[in-house]
Amino acid sequence: MNRRSDFPLLAMNPGLHYLDSAATSQKPRAVLDAIVNFYETSNANPHRGAYDLSVKATDAYHGARDRIARFFGVSDPATLIFTRGTTEAINLVASSWGGANVAEGDEIVVTGMEHHANFVPWQQLAIAKRARLRICELEPDGTVKVARLAELVTKRTRIIAFSHVSNALGTINPVREIAAIARGAGAISVCDGAQSAPHLAVDFHDLGVDFYAFSGHKMLGPMGIGGLIGRRALLEGMPPYQTGGDMIEFVKDADTTWNVLPHKFEAGTPNAANAVGLAAAVDYLAAIGMDEVRRHELALIESAMTRLSAIDDLHIYGPGPAQRSGVVSFTLGDVHPHDLATILDGAGVCIRAGHHCAQPLMRRLNVPATARASFYVYNDESDIDALVAGIMTAKALFGPAHV
């Protein structure tokens, strides 16, 4: 089914082959309309005014939270905290839970494939607390072996932080098993869902993790909105992340008491319009069905991997299609990924070239950069045709590799 026509930017640019959805997705008309509609019909500061319009804005904001919570199988919407995205959600946990619960000599486990957003906050927490950051090395096919990770877990382990899906390799990690290891060790599990929320059916309780972070802009929603889903008992025990308006109960001269969830973690005027936009995005995805989204992407990634691996000098990183989402990272002989991206851009093909905000992973792969193509609901085989044709152009321009 061709969904391109639902996406104004793609509909207006018929020659454009957008293969960078792992960075950010395009937005369907329904999302753009929902945002405009909020500003045209419901704009006021939520939670503030006694007048009807403010009530309308408040209802729109909380209605959005309810719909997004349902999309993730969360029955208690107050345990979904809106944030700017995954980065802020992870920083919230590192700063609030980590600040209160990690002590000198404790350990934090991450994997070698993490995005900087799920690496640097833990590294910095470890430095600040004199705790130890332990990195689970990857298997040669770019996967995490649960047994290897389990070996790193000790009675000092407080946090296991890992991505559900790698943005650089596409690897789908065994979330439930890793969550179980954390539970068994008395550690919390923090799952970076930036690349799973858009592409896989996610039921928070079924995953079994303590925290799950996601970004709206990667799942057809607007930039600047995302969320943290957490277990209620943990969230209630945590100190605030930021302080200010909305998140307080009583402010006395000498101290302050905190508002209830989710407000305790949402200081200041909320991003209501974009929350409404994100709710429209999850409605759009739910209408397709996340199983269908996965089926569509699996077909594309199978085709892309077959066709790319037939090209001389092209090397693909990461596991086979069954263990990978719609992401393919590769290098082409001695053609630098940057040059490849420029040449592909000339053919209207947008791919990412670089370290994909995963420098620790690039060191482990022993490459400075890779080229990455990523797929979503609006892509089809013609995008792969254009990708392959562009790669052949690059090969022709650069001639045979001299490596």
Partner: protein, 144 residues
């Protein structure tokens, strides 16, 4: 051929690919010298420029590092172009080079730029301008 495709062919000339694959002046510099590191954190390109002056003159110059064809070819060609020049001459050349990369048509035909004119096609690709300027930025700092 589309304008895009023509621009791409113009940027990836033989000469540039040749400097990318057979870089001149690549390697460490013997003797006393200064080294300036320039990195583009966005794409991971790195150029380390090694420089020794004799009086006011660029006596020894080389580079190490890694990156895309544009950043590496530019480093190779720039080191060739300034070897033996006084720092004033090198600065003047660099200023002209920068103008060319930023899209100045006149600079692109300036004979004083010599081989470096092969890089003028980069100006059509704003995302790549940084690559072409990396080595020059390092040299400029080294001369200061």
């Amino acid at each position: 051929m589309s304008e895009n495709a023509a621009n791409i062919q113009a940027m990836y000339q033989e000469l540039i690919l040749d400097h990318y694959r057979r870089p001149r002046n690549k390697g460490e510099l013997e003797g006393e010298h200064t080294t300036v590191a320039m990195k583009n954190p966005l794409c991971g390109d790195e150029v380390y420029l090694h420089l020794s002056l004799e009086g006011d003159r660029v006596n020894g110059i080389s580079f190490t590092g890694r990156g895309c064809s544009i950043s590496q070819a530019a480093a190779s060609m720039i080191t060739q172009a300034v070897k033996g020049k006084t720092s004033d001459e090198a600065e003047a050349l660099g200023a002209r080079y920068r103008e060319m990369i930023m899209g100045d048509k006149e600079a692109a035909t300036d004979k004083s730029l010599g081989q470096l004119r092969a890089l003028s096609g980069v100006s059509k690709f704003p995302a790549r301008v940084k690559c072409a300027l990396l080595a020059w930025n390092a040299l400029e700092e080294g001369l200061r």
